[in-house]
Subunit: 305 residues, 2 copies
């Protein structure tokens, strides 16, 4: 068994340290996967106390992907997750000294191969979403959630029907009037957790536009928040899969006929300043959903396993 | 302003990695305190997501202490804390290469000077508690807490009057019949948080003896748990100040006339295996309270500030 591995704690969806969403990345590319047990990985992820800790391995087939990623929360292993993928991809490029040279990266993980693009000039890494199905939320469940989503005791109304987005996590997307309504919400987390657990949802994505939507613009500015009280995280600082859920929902609502950029701010209520650069790509091949952001290495060293 | 500092994430009250209570330690001994702002320290502590992150500085007066420690939670600065002191002292000895040579260490922090002893042979570091006053808890408040401390819906009864211990944090100590009663408790954290906030308590220390108390023995084996839901930590894995509260309470109850060792196990319900070696020292100078444990460096590197 190993006892010393390279380690980075990355900050994701930010260019300023301590303003994004952290992920711990353990470099296992010089060992084989059977040299570190799932139990050990889970106990590391439980101990870092971060929403996710990831483990980079050699790819199963080097002709098909650059690396294999395993993703753990403090409680279990995940098939995929957004900000841990962006942060781990950046860490991979740093560990392997390819930050200036490798533009297209393929990540092997439990859901399959994730396509990533690294912009050498801006440092931004983007991923293409795999799964973006959605279902309308029943009116009685909407009503329950509304009672948990309050601002100074007043329930917050969605401006259109909320949907459940199946993007890996099961996000309920609530679009509200404007960014202030989103920013000022003070949810009843106990109530929200009960509803989420009852209906099998991961949590709520609350979002509002920063300015009036202009049909002719190909850029939309949004404020977003992600609540996951059913899984002991009242609020996630900056959320990749949440941004995918949001833009898929916006495509359902607006049916954009050209490629549209959605710039998302998140984390202000948690002293963070996250920026997600999401995109709905409309091409002759169809529509695809992308989310991207910067990531930087904050803690750099070794972990004694 | 600085941009790169030495960093260690220590595991405290354990000899096995990932089985204790983590604390992040930033080495600021090569800079002056005005080179890093309180805001930056707080934002680092908010980002690590650990219960505490500490910052080691040069001592104000090198003839009076070895180092100065500032301690931050994700929300605020603390005047003192137990496991962060043990972990930071061990990190100090490692950073300064004195682990084999320095036995008596004096830590400057907001509450004053803390005396620490490092056992070169066992690696165990012990601290002497500063503040150990206590007050009996009112019967109606005991009743309220009992309703929040349940096992399968049945309230858990204390075997003696609970007290509020003023050891820095304001711990309510609840002594129960045996270690199993302690281990199996499933508190209602929402209810407990409300009571703690209403009466100004930090949280609850629940403890039970592992074996029948033998008047002639100078060693007592205990199981302990620490609940802090009022401050968003349902359960703390292994708690130094809680152990001080517990042994002060036991001295009140048993009035030990000779030095007594209290070996405390904690963290089992959270997949940890913490060990605190606490001691009530009875000498001609009076009675003093000590807690100690091993600590090891798990993550070792730099932090980019």
């Amino acid at each position: 068994m190993v006892n010393k591995l390279l380690f980075k704690q990355m900050d994701v969806f930010t260019s300023k340290p301590f303003k994004g969403n952290p992920v711990a990345v353990v470099n296992c590319m010089d060992i084989s996967e059977d040299e570190i047990s799932s139990e050990t990985m889970l106990s590391i992820a439980n101990w870092t106390n971060l929403s996710e800790t990831t483990f980079l391995f050699k790819p199963t087939d080097p002709t098909k992907s650059n690396y294999k990623l395993r993703i753990f929360t403090p409680a279990n292993e995940l098939p995929f997750a957004g900000h841990p993928t962006i942060g781990s991809c950046k860490a991979y490029l740093q560990f392997t000294d390819q930050i200036q040279t490798l533009k297209y990266i393929r990540q092997e993980c439990e859901v399959g191969i994730i396509d990533l693009v690294s912009d050498v000039d801006t440092g931004i890494i983007s991923l293409k979403a795999e799964k973006t199905d959605l279902d309308k939320l029943e009116a009685d469940v909407v009503k329950l959630y509304q009672e948990s989503l309050t601002n100074n005791g007043k329930p917050i109304k969605p401006i259109d029907s909320p949907y459940v987005l199946h993007v890996g996590p099961e996000w309920v997307v609530f679009l509200v009037e404007d960014s202030e309504t989103c920013y000022n919400a003070n949810p009843d987390f106990g109530k929200m957790a009960e509803i989420s657990l009852k209906y099998g949802h991961s949590g709520i994505i609350l979002a509002g536009k920063k300015s009036k939507f202009d049909e002719n613009s190909s850029v939309l500015e949004m404020e977003m928040r992600a609540f996951v009280p059913a899984y002991n995280v009242n609020e996630d600082p900056v959320c990749g899969s949440g941004s995918i859920a949001l833009i898929r929902y916006l495509q359902q609502k607006y049916n954009f006929s050209k490629t549209t950029r959605i710039n998302i701010s998140q984390g202000g209520r948690m002293t963070r300043e996250g920026h997600i650069y999401a995109e709905i790509k409309v091409t002759s091949d169809g529509i695809s959903y992308h989310c991207g952001g910067d990531a930087l290495c904050v803690v750099d060293g070794v972990i004694n396993v």
